[in-house]
Structures are given as structure tokens and as C-alpha cells.
């Protein structure tokens, strides 16, 4: 199951954990990504907390926690090659994995149809 936030993160749910990244629309708006700042593994963050940063030459944007939980893994390959966020935003360009502390938060996130509508109207 993939869900989206209004802040242009995607969340791919796998059991009681989730993989988080930025959407195709987000990386397209940012342009060439040159830097990412990823959260610390082991840290527990609340939904809407700033979990990381993604920067292109022209702009910087915060990456927010789509759901509350503990960071279990971060994508070191993305840290080394931030352009993965452009070339494969939904795959190799993932940001971090989180152990869900409140799976019910997922229900309030956007599904594909709602997110697509959001980006069309933006």
C-alpha cells in the first residue's frame, strides 16, 4: 500500500513499518537534487516533525515525518548520490524506514487518486 502526504512524501507500508521518500512531483519541482540530510537511526519522531532535508541547487525543502515512529534505517546510497531522488524517486531514491507507532495515522493520508488530484490543482 502506498500513501501520500500533502507535503509530497510517499509512504510504502510493509507490515508495521514503512519506507518514506519524496514524490515524482516533489523532485520535479525541486530540480536536480544535490544534497540530502537524513534522520538519525534509532530516533523517534512524531508525525509532521522535520525528519530530513532535500536540496537542489536552487532550493531547500524539509522532509516531514508522514507518520510517527522510530527511524530504523536510512538510505546511505542516497546520501552518497542524492541524484537518486531524481532518477528513481519511488525506488532507489527512498529516504528512510520507520517503525510505525500509530498505524491508524495511515488512514488519514492521501491515496494515489487524491494525491494526483492535489498536484493537478497546485
Amino acid at each position: 500500500m502506498i500513501k501520500y502526504t500533502e507535503d509530497h512524501e510517499w509512504v510504502k507500508v510493509e507490515g508495521n513499518s514503512a519506507v518514506v521518500g519524496i514524490t515524482v512531483h516533489a523532485q520535479d519541482a525541486l530540480g536536480d537534487v544535490v544534497f540530502v540530510d537524513l534522520p538519525e537511526v534509532g530516533k523517534t519522531l512524531a508525525q509532521k516533525d522535520v525528519a530530513g532535508v532535500v536540496e537542489s541547487v536552487k532550493a531547500a525543502a524539509d522532509v516531514y515525518m508522514p507518520v510517527s515512529g522510530e527511524i530504523t534505517e536510512v538510505n546511505e546510497a542516497l546520501r552518497a548520490d542524492p541524484s537518486l531522488a531524481n532518477s528513481d524517486p519511488l525506488g532507489a531514491g527512498w529516504f528512510f524506514k520507520v517503525k510505525l507507532s500509530d498505524a491508524a495515522q495511515l488512514d488519514a493520508l492521501l491515496d494515489e487518486t487524491a494525491y494526483t488530484a492535489l498536484t493537478k490543482n497546485a
Binding site: 544535490v34 544534497f35 541547487v57 536552487k58
Partner: protein, 383 residues
């Protein structure tokens, strides 16, 4: 994403930008291309293409004006700390309008065209500049704004190859000189005024052309194999690598030319002891700072990041003891160097090349070192 603002002005190339897949953003009251979409495009690619081939920038938002009259040069000199009167015909020079405190109202380029002074100012400042010039020297010369002129910049090491194919003779211009040219091509006859200058650190040209002929000229230039369009995003990263100030970021009404390190722009004749020393707004402050650099409290410097973390404008700078010593005014990850570069105002005692400072990025210190500018060597054509 912001909604398109219907109040934004359009340059004569607006439709062309859209057809080229530009992403338009508001800038200086205009809808301007920040970058282009598609394969091989985008800020980074446009930046690299400018450094290796040639890029076409639309800078028609900038203000163009003419000052006419036998007294125009002497009058214009009363507004700026630069030598206007001795500039030879056909030559271009950098200048800046100052306020009574020596603060910079705008920076500009001007050319002595013999029968007039041709002036190019920043888009965001043009209305205020024209009012200021009119109020101060309108009685000594005629001031003609040129809103009917577009401005195209063709920049990069292959700019001369592309432009001389259309405009033989343009290759004879040297850096900071200009002339009138005619471009004849497939039944088109385009008159333009071309200077060999720009805002990228590369060899290149700025082309002033009537708005009715701007799109035809842009299409001719884009049809050359060396040339691709580039947006304001690349223009900003290119100018920063070249160590060139952006008005509003790196200089403004609160900074003097000496704090900004623009001493080179103040010719000897206007300095203390010169034949026409002073006589411009803020001269007392500016010349005092120039004559006694130890009295300066802050200076603009270049900084290179020692870690690969971009450092942006308004980031605080601290010395090794954690004391606040300055602030970044422009900064980004240099596409050419793949290293963070920035300009900043720092306390004078921290301005020496080699000084280590910490930029405080999201609460964490990022080490940087004061360095000479430009960050990337400039490649102007001096003949």
C-alpha cells in the same frame, strides 16, 4: 506550487519560453524562466552547458535607458563613484548608484556610445532608478527609458562561434566593449546593440534588440548548434561561481561599495587625491572607508565549504569560539566544483583568506574557509 500570477509582466519571449518547456517563476515583477524541462535540461545541465558551450538567457526584465546631452557624462558621474567622463567611446563599465550614506541603490552597466550613454540596470530597481536619475540630473541631460527593448544574453565559450556566424565582426569586440550590429538572415534584418559582457564569468555577449525582433533573434540563436536556452536558476549559480554580486542579496542600500569589496570599480580619478575626487552621494563615508580600511567593520568575502553541505543565504557564521561574526548573503552547492560556495558579510578581523568559520546549518556547525573569488576562474575575452 504558486498559482500563475496574472499581474506578472511578460517579456517579448514569454511564449517562446513556454514552448521550450520553461518553468516560469515571478522575478522582478515578471514571469521569468527559472529552468527548462526535458532531457538534457534543468538547472544543472543548463549551468554545465553554459560553462562548456553556449546558453541563451532572456534578461529582458532588466531596465535599459539612454542618457543624452553634452553634459550627460558629467551629470551621471555625480550619482556614482566611478569615472564616467573618461570612458572611451565603445567601452562599457560597471557602476553603482549610491545614496547619501554611501549605500548602493543599484548596480549597473553603462556604455559610452558616443551620442548617448546606454545604461542597463536591475529589473527590480528600474522604476526607482529612473525616478532617482530623473530627479537628480534630469535638468542636465535627457533621460529616455527604453521599455521597447528586449535584452538577450548569449554566454559561454562557444558564444562567439555561434554569434559571429550570424553577425560577422562581433568577434572583434573585446570584454567590456560594444557596438551596433545588423543581423541579416533568411529575409530578416535585425538591428541590435551588442556588448561583450555578461553575468556568468564566461566569454559572451549581451544583445539589446527591439521587442518586435526579439523572438526572431532568439530563434536564430537557438538554431545554432552550440546554443541551448538557460534560465535564471543557472544564471544565479553561474554568477555566484564567478564571484559577481546579486543586487538585493549581496549588495543593497545598507552596504557600501567598500564593504562589498567593489573598490576596483572606483577609478583613481574619483578617489581622494584624484582630479575629480568625491562629488557623489555618500562620498565622505565611501572615501573614508577606502582611505582607512582598518575602520571597516565588515566585509564581503567568499567562503568555500569543507563539507558537502549547501550553505544558503541568511545562515549565521560563527568563529571558533562560537561568537557570531557574520551572515551568508548568497550560497549554494557549486555545480562546477561540487562543493558549497557562498558570499558573506563577516567582521573585518575574520575576512582574511584562509580564516576558518562555522556556518550554522539547521543548528549544526559546517566548517567553511574564507577564500578569494571568483570560485571558478573567469574566461573573459580581452583580445
Amino acid at each position: 506550487m504558486a498559482h500563475a500570477d496574472e499581474n506578472l509582466l511578460h517579456t517579448p519571449l514569454y511564449d517562446l519560453h513556454l514552448s521550450l518547456g520553461a518553468r516560469m517563476v515571478p522575478f522582478a515583477g515578471y514571469a521569468m524562466p527559472v529552468q527548462y524541462q526535458g532531457p538534457g535540461m534543468g538547472l544543472m545541465a543548463e549551468h554545465q552547458h553554459t560553462r562548456t558551450a553556449a546558453s541563451l538567457f532572456d534578461v529582458s526584465h532588466m531596465g535599459q535607458l539612454r542618457l543624452v546631452g553634452t553634459d550627460a557624462a558629467a551629470a551621471f558621474e555625480t550619482l556614482m563613484p566611478v569615472d564616467v567622463q573618461d570612458l572611451a567611446v565603445g567601452k562599457q563599465r560597471y557602476g553603482m548608484l549610491l545614496n547619501e550614506a554611501g549605500g548602493i541603490l543599484d548596480d549597473l552597466m553603462f556604455v559610452n556610445r558616443g551620442n548617448d550613454l546606454f545604461v542597463i540596470v536591475n529589473g527590480a530597481c528600474k522604476a526607482a532608478d529612473i525616478a532617482h536619475i530623473q530627479a537628480r540630473i534630469g535638468g542636465r541631460c535627457q533621460i529616455f527609458p527604453m521599455p521597447e527593448r528586449a535584452l538577450l544574453a548569449l554566454q559561454g565559450p562557444q558564444a562567439v562561434t555561434a554569434l559571429q556566424r550570424l553577425c560577422p565582426g562581433v568577434e572583434k569586440l573585446v570584454f567590456m566593449s560594444g557596438g551596433q550590429f545588423h543581423i541579416h538572415h533568411s529575409a530578416q534584418d535585425i538591428d541590435c546593440f551588442i556588448t561583450r559582457s555578461g553575468y556568468t564569468g564566461e566569454d559572451g555577449f549581451e544583445i539589446s534588440v527591439h521587442e518586435m525582433q526579439a523572438e526572431a533573434l532568439a530563434r536564430l540563436l537557438l538554431a545554432q548548434p552550440e546554443v541551448k536556452p538557460a534560465g535564471l536558476g543557472a544564471r544565479n549559480s553561474l554568477r555566484l561561481e564567478a564571484g559577481l554580486c546579486l543586487y538585493g542579496n549581496d549588495i543593497d542600500a545598507s552596504t557600501t561599495p567598500i564593504e562589498a569589496g567593489l573598490n576596483w570599480a572606483i577609478q583613481k580619478v574619483r578617489r581622494t587625491g584624484g582630479a575629480r575626487a568625491g562629488g557623489f552621494p555618500g562620498a565622505a563615508q565611501v572615501l573614508a572607508q577606502l582611505d582607512n580600511p582598518s575602520a571597516l567593520t565588515r566585509k564581503r568575502v567568499g567562503l568555500v565549504g569543507l563539507e558537502r553541505v549547501p550553505v544558503r543565504e541568511h545562515v549565521e557564521l560563527q568563529d571558533a569560539s562560537g561568537q557570531r561574526v557574520g551572515e551568508v548573503c548568497s550560497g549554494l552547492l557549486s555545480p562546477t566544483l561540487d562543493q558549497p560556495v557562498a558570499m558573506a558579510y563577516v567582521a573585518s578581523q575574520c575576512a582574511a583568506v584562509g580564516t576558518r568559520l562555522n556556518a550554522i546549518v539547521r543548528g549544526k556547525p559546517v566548517p567553511m574557509e574564507v577564500t578569494a573569488m571568483p570560485f571558478v576562474p573567469t574566461r573573459y575575452y580581452r583580445g
